[in-house]
Amino acid sequence: MTILGCPMFNRTTRLLVLLCVLGTLGVAPVAADARDDAKQQVEFGIEVAQRGLWREAIYRWERATQIDPTYAAAHNNLAIAYEQDRDLDKARAAYERALELEPGNVFITQNFELFREINERTNRENS
């Protein structure tokens, strides 16, 4: 008998699938729906950013932050796009918001540190 044939496994599997189905049917909190919608925007934004279409990426990630303002990844990505667009004030604000939402996120922290380093250098050279 394989593990898949085990009656115990089947019961567990069915329970997990049931939970997933219930989740998608709206039993999960409304916030999860917003996150899913925002995530779709974030994913599309990543795809277009990887092709160099930063304007479209900005639009997608701005939508994502409007749909779910607590989505740190969307704020992080938006900050990077603003940085690419040389809109430094907006980039800083977006990084700060992302870090406010996820203070311990090493990726966001690293991105923000790199941004600050270049930004400060630019200011130093312009002064």
Binding site: T13, L16, V17, N76, I80, F115, E125
Partner: protein
């Protein structure tokens, strides 16, 4: 029937774990443009006129710096680089000094025959403030942005305690690296250029910037002066170019899902 369900469950579990660990991430290259320090939009041409240079006799700081900057500007700047002979600035400075103050003989310090120290170079500074001269040069070359200045490239020696890493192996053959302080005599070169940017339309100085770079080698290591000069110029060229044109800093950021 059970197999597809098991696959779905395991996929969901992996996705959940990835989410718990912070989701997927994508490293993406990011080019950050740095705005030029000087607004050169009013200039179509740039003239690297030449430099008052001194220090080592092995390198002609005037000729080498002019040639190097022209070649860099041809590829890194949108302005057309004026191709002409290097201006004899030392002679011009000497004449300009005599003309502006004909009674000065014996009064102020005379211009040195050889420029060996920073103090010698300072005596030529009046040349860059000679608005009429630069205006004339500007008219001659169709009002370019003029790049000039001073270049001091001199040998230097320094001795003292330095710290370096040394490999050691213990009795079991394990390798480790420890910092060791040793006394060393070193020699090398110091490069101190001052770039002066002059408006060829008005003859006025728009901007100037000083740099200092040095390199030191072991005293027993022979390094040609010219290669050290290029090594040091290579370090400061990005800063020089960022005065005139947008420079791009290449980096990466992490996109999160």
């Amino acid at each position: 029937m059970n197999v597809p369900i098991a696959r779905i469950v395991s996929t969901l579990a992996v996705a959940a774990m990835a989410t718990a660990c912070g989701g997927s991430y994508y490293e993406i290259p990011l080019d950050t443009p740095i705005r030029p320090k000087l607004d050169v939009s009013g200039f179509e041409r740039i003239l690297v006129a030449g430099f008052i240079s001194g220090g080592s006799e092995e390198v002609d700081g005037n000729v080498e710096t002019t040639r190097l900057l022209r070649s860099q500007l041809r590829s890194q700047s949108d302005m057309r680089v004026v191709d002409t002979d290097v201006l004899p600035l030392v002679e011009v400075a000497t004449e300009s000094r005599a003309t502006s103050d004909p009674t000065a003989d014996g009064e102020g310090p005379a211009l040195p025959e050889a420029i060996l120290e920073d103090a010698d170079l300072e005596l030529y500074e009046h040349l860059f403030a000679d608005v009429e001269y630069w205006q004339r040069i500007g008219e001659e070359y169709q009002q370019p942005l003029i790049v000039t200045g001073t270049v001091m490239f001199a040998p230097q020696e320094r001795s003292g305690i330095i710290q370096r890493d040394q490999e050691i192996y213990d009795s079991l053959g394990r390798r480790s690296v420890v910092p060791v302080r040793t006394y060393m005599e070193r020699k090398g070169f110091v490069l101190k250029p001052r770039f002066v940017f002059i408006d060829g339309r008005t003859g006025a100085v728009l901007y100037s910037e000083n740099f200092r770079e040095e390199v030191l080698y072991n005293a027993n290591q022979a390094s040609p002066a010219l290669s050290s000069y290029f090594e040091l110029m290579d370090r400061l060229l990005p800063s020089f170019l960022s005065t005139l044109s947008t420079q791009t800093i290449k980096g990466t950021r992490v996109l999160l899902q």
